[in-house]
Every structure is written in structure tokens, then in C-alpha cells.
């Protein structure tokens, strides 16, 4: 039958051969051959081939199931009594079955290992989902390595740019951009805000970004008389209908029609994913408004390393042309920064720190499961020894452990994926991602990653018990098993794992402690305002409104807001404290030398501003009804720093300032210092001007409302509706509260603290489980030992003390190692720390105390159990 003339296609036969049980393989294949030949003779070779393929592929699922079933049930047909031939992978299937039975029989061990591992995997996966776009994904620009940003972002002006445009050495092109949010009003709906950027015509060429539809800006789009045009993001395009006819259509932005010339592809962003529209504006060669950022593409062959001579030439070029005061001197600290660092750099430390913390937790989890499994292996020493004595090879015994670990790993992957999905959402909110939170995404690749990590971790875990299997003298354990192993093996590996676990936990806990300390110091700073009970509505008006119209509308809105229940006062300002930076100019004090100009931040506010924010008056008076609107000049209020710096030993009240806004300004009052910029900024001279006397020239304004309600946020909805009703031309940018602004000013450190605190809780739970597991296993193994001592009169308190001190010693060693590690790793947190060094004894002491306490508690439970057993019972039972 073997030498039939018709050859069978090899592949399907091989497939069947693999899948059929050995005992029946030959007969089935022989029958198939016969039938194949018959079909070939009757209906032709092609039909026969098709038939064979159908048989092989159609059989595969059934045979796989059958194999598994035979292995699982151990079923062997009667007919095969004298020629047993189990299914393929029989030993693996039996092992899986055995492992599943063992795991079911030890629910605590199973649940603890699966949960521990799942926490590690889930957490790491969740962090990976966030870290991926920030750390690993390429930027949506061609050859992003060639794109660099200039120093002093947000300080360049149009005059400078027009001067050196196209002449900067070493660059293919340099473009410029600044914030340029727009309002859009569609139909009768309220005015909407579109986050946008104003860019110079060459910007998209610098980025090497191509549109999905239409074109990007080109030369001539940013000169006087050019048609107003806009490029929109994919998301905005979808919102506007997503049809190709958008190109050339006019949309009304800021009350002015603009032609849409291009749509950027999905996934394009610049400079962050919240931006939805890019526009150009005629650039003014005399424009002194310095709020632009520069970005350039290096000329071919240039790298950041070779740019130094070009940078020097460029600096001397601007040095020749422009004069700078001490603030904003662009000839100082000149350098180029890779665009990736500029755009993503701020988030990177947070993400990296979280990534590291999560990796540590995964390590702790692995150590934990390894310790748990090790306990299991030791408990099974006699079983393994008997099996090895009966002829089981070490490979076979290892295989069984591997299968058990894989089952745990699969369970952990499933639970971990669920945890990752949940954890991802928590992390996305907790991390200081800002506009980036929208670009991170939980997806199925993450599940694959979780699975890979689980399997990798599990194999890692298996290595540990297996090495002890190789090393240990199995036959010796039979004899010691009979006497129940009064002096079992040292368990050095197990103890080592606990020490490592504690050390890793120490890293996270002390990191969290450092942040807790620095955040509490940040909150202890007095920002100079009363943040409680103040609601904030940020509004934006379209650009075609004059500053007088804008002020009138704002005042109407304020009057309406004052009538709301619970509202005590309301005010508006062009910029609120704690939100960083702000406008500044130089003024001249009458009576001082005229060349001695004074740098001051300035704020244009309405009359109730100080009362509403709770800013204290130190001298003179606040704005009142005697301060009437004027075309030029009027009253000004200065802060304490201004007074101290520029009127030392003098009374500033009644003195006059010129410069800045036109006219002469009389100082009428001095108020307490307020953290106008960032919370931790040095105090700067600041002057406050009354809206109406000074123009509210910015189209953005913040309305603040002080309320008597316990929760300032509860007034927000009313306030929003009121503003929408009274001034429908204002787009509401954001509604928030002053407390939230303070939280934001405390900034990433606060979010990192919350996150690391969460993670340290996790690390501590895992550490406690590890200590508990190891100590209870020690205690159980020496049960007989303790029983004899108790029978001989050892007081139970001594038993407890000895066992607990064993646990405490492990923790102490781990803590010491952990402190050393923390000193090395705390550098990661430097950018979040305020007022504490990376080596902070108080933080370390607190973290050590917490971990020691947890170790003692975790060891106490098994200790107590060991001390309460009846020695007579133990001795009899063994």
C-alpha cells in the first residue's frame, strides 16, 4: 500500500500526522491514502487534492479538541490496550490538569499570586499606554531630528523676525508661531472657542507637514492685503461635516470671514493636540508684541552639534541690531533645543518617574509570586522527591512547575488587562498631561503587551523555584520529610526576595514621602489672595470688538452677576494671579532720573478686583467712584515690592508714574504682594490699573465672582448662563475656581504626589503580602520546633517575639538597601521637588517607619498563629 503510484500532497498529510494520536495514526493515514487514490481515479487528481485538503483542515479543530480531551480525561480506548499512544503534548495536558487541580485546592495562594501579578502587569500596561505617545511615538513631522526650537520661547516679536527672516545661518527655514485662539459662532448657538495658533507662512514647511486636503500656508499668506486664510485640524474638519468641499469655504472666525485652505491629516498636532486651527496674520515689521516662539529646520548636513558657530553668528547679528534690557535679553543663554524636548520635555520626568515606579511594582509583584511559589515548592519537596525517586526527570518536574506558573500567568493577564483598562483612566487624569490626555489611548496592543509581560514575568518567577529544585538534594528531603524537617533549608532565597521587595517598596514610598513634603511646602506659601469661595469664568471676545465695547460688555455682565443669589462681589481682570507670566512694561517715576526706568508687571482690573480676590490693602485706598473713566492717565495701585524697591523710605502715595499706558498715573494705594506669576516666583513689582482709564486691549479676560456659598463651583453654572445671556458675543473659555487654579499652580508636583502615594499604597500592600507569606511559611515549617519549645515551657510571648523579630530584621535590611537606592534614583524627581533636597532624612525616616510597621504587623499574624497551637496536637499529628 505504501508504493502506490499516486503521490499524496505532503502538507495535508503532515498536518494529519501531527494531529492524530500515535496509536491510530497509521491506519487512518492508510485509509485516507486508499480513498484518495479512489477519488483520483474516479474524479481526477484536482478533486482528490481538494478532498484531502478539506479532510486535513476540517479535521484540525476536531482533532485538536480530541487531543486535549484525551489528555485531560486520560481516556484510552479499549482497543489500544496493548499499544497505548497518547495524544501529542500529553504530558503538558496532564500537567495542566494537575496544576489546575492544585491551584483550585489552594485558593489563597492562587488568588494572591494572580492578583499580585495582575496588579504589576495591569499597572505597567496602563502606564505604557500613557508613556507611548509621549516617549516612544514619532512626532508627526518629517525628519523631526532636524527641527529645533529657539531659546526664550514666547519672547520674540515681529520686528525681530522680519529683520532676520530668511537670513539665519545654518537653517533651511525658520518659522514663528504664537497662541491665537479664535471664536466661532455657528447659527444661534453660543460663541465657541477654538484653540488655535497664529503662525508665519513658512511654519508648515519647517515642520515638513503635508495637508490631507488643500494646501498649507505659502509665501504671501502673512503679508498686508493677503486674503485671510486658515488651516484646520482633522477633528475640526470632521465637526464641520468632513466633506472635501470645505476647501475654499469661508467660515466666520472672530466675526471675520476666513477661507479654509487646508485640512491636516488625522494624528497631526502642533504644538500640542488641543490646537484645532492655524491662521496667519499680516506680520508687522515694527511689531513689538513679543509673544512668539521660533522653530526652524536645520540646513542639510547640519546637526545640533555643528550649529554652535551659526548660533554665535546669529546672536551677534541680533546684538548689532537690537538693544535689550536686563529682562528678555536674547543675546544671553542662546541655544537651540530639539523640538521633541521642547514639546514633550515638561511631561517626560513625570511619565518616566511613573514608569519607573510601575516597573518597580512589577518587580515587587514578581518577587512576591516567586516567594509564594517557593513556599509551595518547599512544601512539596517530599512530593517532588518521591516523584523523582520513581523516575521523574528534573526536566519533567520543572515542566510541571512551568505549567502551573503559566496558568497563573494567563489568569494574571486576564485580570491585569481589566486592571490596566481601569488604571489607565485614573492615570490619565492624575498625570500632568494637559492637552496630551486626549492623545493617549487604551488599545488592544496594550493587552498584547500585558500578555507578553505576564509570560515573561512568569518565566522569570519559575526560574527561582526551579533553581532551588536543581540545587536541593531531593532524596535528602525524603528523609527529612519523615521527621517533618525540624531544621529545614535556610530559605535564603526566600528571605532574599523579601529583602528585595522591601527595598523596592522603600524606593517608591520614600519618593512619595519626598513629594508629600514638597507639596505641603508649596501649599504653605501664601499666594496673597483668598482662594476659597471664588469662582472664575474665563471669557474671550472676538477681535473686532473695541476695548471700550469690551469693557462695557464686561461691566454689564458684572452687574448681572452681582444680582445672583450668594454672590458678594465680582470683578474682571485681563489676567489672574497664579497663572504664570503676564504682561509687563517699563515706567518712569516722576522725580527719579528719567533714564531709570522701572520694570513692572501690570494688570488692568475692574474696581472690585481687590475685594473679590481678598487682596489686602497696605496703604492709601482702593479704586472707588472718584476714579472716573478717562482717555489718558488716572489712578494706579502698586504692590509692596514696588513700593519697597522703588520708594525706599518714602511714601509712595501721591507719586506719579509715566510710561507704559499714555498719560500720568498717580499712585493711590499699596496692596499686599500676590503671586502674580508662578507660586514659587520671586516677588516682582506689579501695578494695577483701572479698566476704563487703561484700555482692556486683550480680547481675553477673566471674571472672578466671590460667593458666600460653601462651594464656589456651585455658582459656576449660573455665572456661565448669565454671561451667555448678557454678553453672547463672549465665548466662555473655561469655568473654574480659584482653589483649582491654586491646585494647578502647585502643579505637577501635586499630581505626582497623588500618583506616587497611590503607587506606594500598592507597593506596601504587596510588600505586606510578601512578608506575610514568607514568615507564615517559616513559622509553619518550624511548627514542630515551636511546639517542642512551648511544651518545654517557652512562654508564647517569646514565640511571637522571635518570629516577629525575624520579619522585622528582613524589613530593616530591605529598608537600608532601599534608602541607598532612593538616593541614587531621587534625581528623577528633582524637577518636582520644592524646598526639600533629594536626600531628605525626614522623608526617609517616615518611609522607613511605615515599612517597618507594616513588616511587624504582617509578621505578627503568623506569629500569633504559631504561638496559639496546642503543642500536644502538633507533636501527635506529625
Amino acid at each position: 500500500m505504501t508504493d502506490l503510484p499516486v503521490p499524496l500532497p505532503r502538507l495535508p498529510v503532515a498536518l494529519l500526522r501531527r494531529l492524530l494520536p500515535r496509536a491510530e495514526r497509521d491506519e487512518v493515514l492508510a485509509d485516507i491514502r486508499v480513498e484518495y487514490v479512489e477519488i483520483a481515479a474516479a474524479e481526477g487528481l484536482a478533486t482528490a487534492k481538494r478532498w484531502l485538503w478539506r479532510q486535513a483542515l476540517g479535521s484540525a479543530p476536531a482533532l485538536l479538541g480530541w487531543n486535549w480531551w484525551r489528555g485531560w480525561t486520560g481516556f484510552e480506548p479499549q482497543a489500544n490496550a496493548y499499544r497505548p499512544g497518547g495524544p501529542m503534548l500529553k504530558s503538558w495536558i496532564t500537567d495542566a490538569r494537575y496544576a489546575a487541580r492544585r491551584l483550585r485546592a489552594r485558593p489563597t495562594y492562587t488568588i494572591l499570586s494572580i492578583l499580585t501579578l495582575a496588579l504589576g502587569i495591569g499597572g505597567t500596561t496602563a502606564v505604557f499606554g500613557i508613556a507611548r505617545p509621549l516617549l516612544f511615538d514619532p512626532l508627526p513631522y518629517a525628519n523631526a531630528k532636524e527641527v529645533v526650537t529657539f531659546w526664550m520661547p514666547g519672547w520674540w516679536n515681529e520686528e525681530e523676525f522680519m529683520y532676520f527672516r530668511g537670513r539665519i545661518p545654518g537653517f533651511q527655514a525658520v518659522g514663528m508661531h504664537r497662541s491665537g485662539d479664535l471664536t466661532m459662532r455657528a447659527g444661534d448657538g453660543p460663541t465657541r472657542l477654538l484653540p488655535g495658533r497664529i503662525v508665519s507662512a513658512e511654519l508648515f514647511d519647517v515642520l515638513g507637514a503635508h495637508p490631507l486636503l488643500g494646501r498649507v500656508f505659502r509665501q504671501g499668506d502673512d503679508v498686508d492685503g493677503a486674503e485671510p486664510v486658515a488651516v484646520i485640524s482633522y477633528g475640526l474638519w470632521q465637526e464641520l461635516g468632513g466633506s472635501a468641499s470645505i476647501i475654499g469655504r469661508r467660515i466666520t472666525l472672530d466675526g471675520m470671514p476666513r477661507t479654509v485652505i487646508g485640512v491636516m491629516p488625522r494624528g497631526f498636532w502642533f504644538p500640542d493636540p488641543s490646537i484645532r486651527i492655524w491662521t496667519t496674520r499680516p506680520l508687522d515689521p515694527q511689531g513689538r508684541n513679543g509673544s512668539w516662539e521660533l522653530v526652524g529646520r536645520l540646513a542639510p548636513g547640519q546637526t545640533l552639534a555643528t550649529m554652535q558657530p551659526n548660533l554665535d553668528r546669529f546672536v551677534s547679528m541680533i546684538h548689532e541690531r537690537f538693544q535689550y534690557g536686563p529682562k528678555g535679553d536674547k543675546t544671553k543663554e542662546a541655544k537651540f533645543t530639539p523640538i521633541r524636548e521642547r514639546l514633550l520635555g515638561k511631561m517626560q520626568p513625570a511619565v518616566v518617574a511613573t514608569f519607573v515606579a510601575m516597573g518597580l511594582i512589577l518587580l515587587i509583584a514578581c518577587a512576591n509570586v516567586a516567594a509564594l511559589m517557593l513556599g509551595q515548592v518547599e512544601g512539596r519537596a517530599s512530593e517532588l522527591a518521591v516523584r523523582s525517586a520513581l523516575g521523574a526527570s528534573r526536566g519533567r518536574l520543572t515542566q510541571q512547575l512551568v505549567v502551573e506558573a503559566l496558568l497563573v500567568g494567563v489568569g494574571a493577564a486576564v485580570v491585569g488587562a481589566a486592571l490596566a483598562a481601569a488604571g489607565f483612566r485614573i492615570l490619565a487624569e492624575a498625570l500632568p498631561l494637559g492637552a496630551w490626555s486626549s492623545s493617549t489611548g487604551f488599545d488592544w496592543t496594550m493587552f498584547a503587551v500585558a500578555l507578553l509581560i505576564a509570560i515573561f514575568a512568569v518565566l522569570l518567577v519559575v526560574l527561582v523555584p526551579t533553581t532551588s529544585l536543581w540545587r536541593g538534594d531531593l532524596r535528602g528531603s525524603i528523609s527529612s520529610a519523615r521527621t517533618s524537617g525540624i531544621q529545614g533549608r535556610g530559605g535564603r532565597l526566600e528571605r532574599g526576595l523579601v529583602v528585595a521587595e522591601v527595598a523596592l517598596a522603600m524606593l517608591i514610598v520614600s519618593g512619595a514621602a519626598l513629594l508629600v513634603r514638597s507639596v505641603s511646602k508649596l501649599y504653605a506659601i501664601n499666594p496673597g489672595i483668598e482662594t476659597k469661595g471664588v469662582a472664575v469664568v474665563d471669557v474671550m471676545s472676538s477681535r473686532e470688538m473695541t476695548s471700550v465695547q469690551r469693557r462695557q460688555k464686561i461691566e454689564e455682565a458684572l452687574a448681572a452677576l452681582d444680582t445672583l443669589p450668594g454672590v458678594q462681589s465680582s470683578a474682571a481682570a485681563m489676567k489672574l494671579p497664579l497663572r504664570g507670566g503676564g504682561d509687563s512694561f517699563n515706567v518712569v517715576i516722576e522725580g527719579h532720573a528719567s533714564d531709570e526706568s522701572v520694570f513692572t508687571y501690570y494688570r488692568v482690573v475692574t474696581s472690585d478686583y481687590f475685594r473679590t480676590l481678598g487682596i489686602k490693602l497696605r496703604d492709601g485706598r482702593l479704586f472707588d467712584n472718584s476714579d472716573q473713566p478717562a482717555d489718558s492717565g488716572g489712578s494706579v495701585i502698586i504692590n509692596e515690592t514696588f513700593a519697597k524697591k522703588h520708594f525706599p523710605g518714602e511714601n509712595p502715595i501721591g507719586r506719579r508714574l509715566t510710561g507704559g499706558f499714555s498719560g500720568t498715573w498717580q499712585v493711590i494705594g499699596v496692596v499686599a504682594n500676590v503671586a502674580e506669576g508662578a507660586l514659587t516666583d520671586d516677588e516682582e513689582a506689579t501695578s494695577y490699573y483701572l479698566a476704563g482709564q487703561a484700555p482692556m486691549f486683550e480680547h481675553q479676560a477673566s471674571i472672578v465672582v466671590r460667593t458666600s456659598r460653601a462651594n464656589a463651583a456651585s455658582v459656576l453654572e449660573d455665572a456661565r448662563r448669565t454671561v451667555n445671556r448678557v454678553a453672547p458675543a463672549f465665548a466662555i473659555q473655561e469655568t473654574t475656581t480659584m482653589s483649582r487654579i491654586l491646585d494647578e499652580a502647585v502643579g505637577p508636583a501635586r499630581q505626582m504626589m497623588m500618583l506616587l502615594t497611590l503607587l506606594s499604597a500598592l507597593a506596601m500592600v504587596l510588600g505586606a503580602i510578601g512578608i506575610y507569606g514568607v514568615i507564615s511559611h517559616f513559622a509553619a515549617r518550624r511548627k514542630r520546633d515551636w511546639a517542642i519549645r512551648v511544651a518545654l515551657g517557652l512562654p508564647t510571648s517569646r514565640v511571637i517575639r522571635q518570629i516577629v523579630s525575624q520579619g522585622a530584621a528582613l524589613v530593616a535590611v530591605g529598608v537600608v538597601i532601599g534608602v541607598l537606592g532612593t538616593i541614587a534614583l531621587a534625581r528623577l524627581l528633582t524637577s518636582f521637588l520644592f524646598g526639600v533636597g533629594t536626600v531628605d532624612p525626614i522623608s526617609f525616616a517616615a518611609a522607613s517607619a511605615v515599612l517597618l510597621l507594616i513588616g511587624v504587623v504582617a509578621a505578627f499574624i503568623p506569629a500569633r498563629r504559631a504561638s496559639t497551637v496546642d503543642p500536644a496536637l502538633v507533636l501527635r499529628e506529625q
Binding site: 500500500m1 494529519l16 494531529l19 492524530l20 491510530e24 497509521d26 491506519e27 487512518v28 492508510a30 485509509d31 485516507i32 486508499v34 480513498e35 478539506r54 479532510q55 483542515l57 476540517g58 479535521s59 484540525a60 479543530p61 476536531a62 482533532l63 479538541g65 480530541w66 480531551w69 484525551r70 480525561t73 481516556f75 480506548p77 479499549q78 482497543a79 489500544n80 496493548y82 499499544r83
Partner: protein
């Protein structure tokens, strides 16, 4: 036997059991497959047949033994008493189900409708 959890048999199980009977003492896997295929006209994979045969043997509805003679050794199947009972039971259950059901009327109606 009316409460035997083995009945009613699955469709493939029933077909396999009947095919074992029909092949009369020559019931090995491939032959059973061929028998079912010929009678039902349905393409059947050998793997599915073997898996079913094994399952039926485990349930003790079939017994298997090996032939020793010329040609390759084969696993031959025979219906056990229990298997025969299960078949009878399944068939009886089906007959009970069909009692008093008149499909003809509906089929006739269909024929009438489609002919218009």
C-alpha cells in the same frame, strides 16, 4: 432507562452510531465516515468522526477492539447494549415528538403558493 442522561443523542452521535450498525462488523473510522457521507450526502472530516467515536466509547455506547490479520491493524467499533438502548430511546423520543404533527398541509400550501 427513560431518565438516561445520555439521551437524546446529538445528531452526529446518532449518525455515527447508526453508521456503525449499518457497516455490520466492519466499522472502522474511515468506513463510518464514508457510510455517513454516502447516506447523508454531507462532507464529513475524519477528525470529527474519530473524536465522536472516542466520546461514544467513553460513554460506553460503543466498544472497540483491534483486528489482527492481514493488512494494517484496525480499531473496529461495535454497538454496546447501552448504545442500542440509547439509539432506541432517541428514536422513540423523536417519534413521540412527531406524533400528531402534520407537515403535509403546510408543504402542500407552499407548493400551491409557489405555483401561482
Amino acid at each position: 432507562m427513560t431518565n438516561d442522561p445520555l439521551t437524546p443523542l446529538g445528531v452526529l452521535e446518532e449518525q455515527v452510531l447508526v453508521a456503525v450498525l449499518r457497516t455490520r462488523g466492519d466499522a472502522y473510522g474511515m468506513e463510518v465516515r464514508r457510510e455517513i457521507e454516502q447516506v447523508t450526502g454531507r462532507d464529513l472530516a475524519i477528525g470529527a468522526v474519530y473524536a465522536t467515536l472516542d466520546r461514544l466509547e467513553q460513554k460506553k455506547l460503543l466498544t472497540s477492539r483491534r483486528t489482527h490479520g492481514a493488512g494494517p491493524s484496525r480499531r473496529l467499533f461495535e454497538l454496546s447494549a447501552r448504545g442500542a438502548r440509547a439509539l432506541a430511546e432517541t428514536r422513540e423520543m423523536r417519534d413521540r415528538l412527531w406524533r400528531g404533527v402534520d407537515l403535509e398541509a403546510i408543504l402542500q400550501l407552499r407548493v400551491l403558493r409557489t405555483s401561482y
